[in-house]
């Protein structure tokens, strides 16, 4: 029995404790100036032509006091193509090519195309990464911190509209790690990126929603 308990401890508790120690050792975040945070993110992203990742999306619904968790995958290719698929039970596929948004709900057979204003297109946003950041963008307050090899940018829009706060965590090589969006209606969405692979050579055929 003693040996059994010893083994149980050795196999489950010790690794968990070691993990906790490691996490607490790297958990010390240092606040850095927003420009520095943005510049670090920009530099990391500069070396990336594309990436793929598996995602877990957690939607906390304040009104229903409920959390809905889904999983899926994302793909991105510079300069302006983004694909996201969320698996069943709330299956959806989204393809954003610059400012043209295509959405497909496979279960319902719904196809939807939306043309966003050019200033909301991916090309516009990612062109901001082409030159060094000298000052934070207007209309938002930005806070940044660095924790080991990750940078967290907290973006607070000045206008009190839909989104209250966006918190994005990236590795210094540009790979996304976590995205948290808090809304004025107290809803919260957390997207966690796993198995992120960059510069895998994604092609046009990898960005089809049907």
């Amino acid at each position: 029995m003693k040996a059994f308990l010893f083994l149980l401890i050795r196999r489950s508790l010790i690794p968990a404790l070691l993990g906790m120690i490691c996490v607490s050792a790297i958990a010390h975040a240092v606040e850095i100036p927003p420009q520095e945070g943005l510049e670090l993110a920009r530099k990391g992203f500069a070396g990336m032509t594309d990436f793929t990742a598996e995602i877990t999306q957690e939607k906390q619904i304040a009104l229903l006091k409920k959390t809905q968790t889904s999983s899926g995958q994302v793909r991105f290719r510079r300069p302006d193509t983004f694909y996201m698929e969320v698996y069943s039970p709330y299956a959806s596929r989204l393809l954003l090519k610059d400012n043209i948004l295509n959405m497909f709900l496979p279960t319902e057979g719904v196809r939807q195309k939306t043309v966003l204003p050019p200033e909301e297109g991916l090309r516009h946003w990612f062109s901001l990464f082409d030159r060094p950041v000298t000052r934070p963008p207007a209309g938002v307050e930005i806070r940044a911190d660095r924790r080991g090899d990750t940078i967290t940018l907290k973006i607070i829009p000045a206008a009190k509209k839909g989104v209250k706060e966006i918190r994005i965590t990236l590795f210094t090589d540009g790979r996304p790690r976590r995205l948290a969006i808090e809304e004025q209606n107290r809803d919260r969405t957390i997207i966690t990126f796993q198995k992120v692979r960059k510069n895998v050579g994604l092609e046009e055929k990898d960005f089809r929603i049907e």
């Binding site: 196999r11 009104l63 709330y90 959405m103 196809r111 009190k160 509209k161 969006i181």
Partner: protein
């Protein structure tokens, strides 16, 4: 001889450790299975209670709207209170709020939080070319009679000021399957499930006389639980309000 004994002793220790390892792994495996089993225990389905009515609903929803020139839809959530108040939230694929709709009586308010805009007016003011035109039918979801009555089989007819002649179709069990309104609209109630004895159709489909279809699929519904009144009233603080007639979509 000595070497053979030592070998046997080592072999026994090895076997003992292997056995302990197996037990340990099995224990962890059983714990995982137990946890998984707890998470997937199906909810008890009580028999339908005759005359039980739906007073409130809070649920995740999937909506599809199909009309000759419209093909749209999405996932979201909804809070409904009998007879005709609802708050519907449609989400973007990222999980953020795309659009909120509040309805009470014959009034509807559509809020687009990201733009800080709202459109309010009577359902009939919804422009004909609006992609949400079909949503007008959602007010028909309010059912003023029980969805299950074993005495009602076949059809029953009645008339109301708001909807004119209404024909209700019941199945062999006495579950309401379909309602046909004088104006040509139809509502279908499908995939009934028992929520603590209250019959609840997990799919409701509306069809208007022009062929526009609105299908709502409910997931994880909570039936007849208290609903906070604030959940059914739009908070329009800091939002610019426009007439519903000017709503052209997102």
């Amino acid at each position: 001889m000595m070497k053979t004994d030592q070998f046997k002793a080592k072999k026994n220790i090895f076997r003992k450790r292997l056995f302990q390892n197996r037990i340990c792994e099995s224990a962890i495996f059983c714990l995982i299975l137990f946890a998984a089993g707890c998470a997937t225990t199906p909810k008890e389905q009580l028999p339908f209670r005759p005359g039980a009515t739906i007073e409130t609903v809070a649920a995740m929803v999937t909506i599809s709207v199909k009309a000759p020139r419209v093909n749209t839809g999405g996932h979201g959530y909804m809070v409904y209170q009998r007879p005709d108040r609802f708050h519907l939230v449609m989400l973007t694929p990222f999980g953020t709020t795309a659009l909120e709709t509040y309805s009470s009586d014959d009034r509807i308010t559509i809020v687009i939080p990201s733009k800080g805009e709202a459109y309010a007016g009577a359902f009939d003011e919804m422009p004909d070319d609006s992609p949400l035109k079909g949503w007008r039918m959602i007010r028909l979801m309010g059912v003023d009679e029980p969805l299950f009555d074993p005495m009602k089989k076949g059809t029953s007819e009645k008339s109301s000021k708001a909807h004119g002649e209404i024909t209700s179709f019941y199945d062999a069990q006495g579950l309401l399957e379909r309602k046909k309104f004088g104006g040509g609209e139809e509502v279908f109630f499908r995939n009934y499930q028992s929520e603590e004895g209250v019959p609840f159709p997990s799919v409701i489909e509306f069809i208007d006389r022009n062929g526009a279809r609105v299908k709502i699929t409910f997931d994880e519904p909570e039936i007849n639980k208290p609903v906070d009144n604030a959940a059914l009233v739009p908070n329009l603080e800091g939002i610019s309000i426009h007439p519903l007639a000017s709503f052209k979509g997102m």
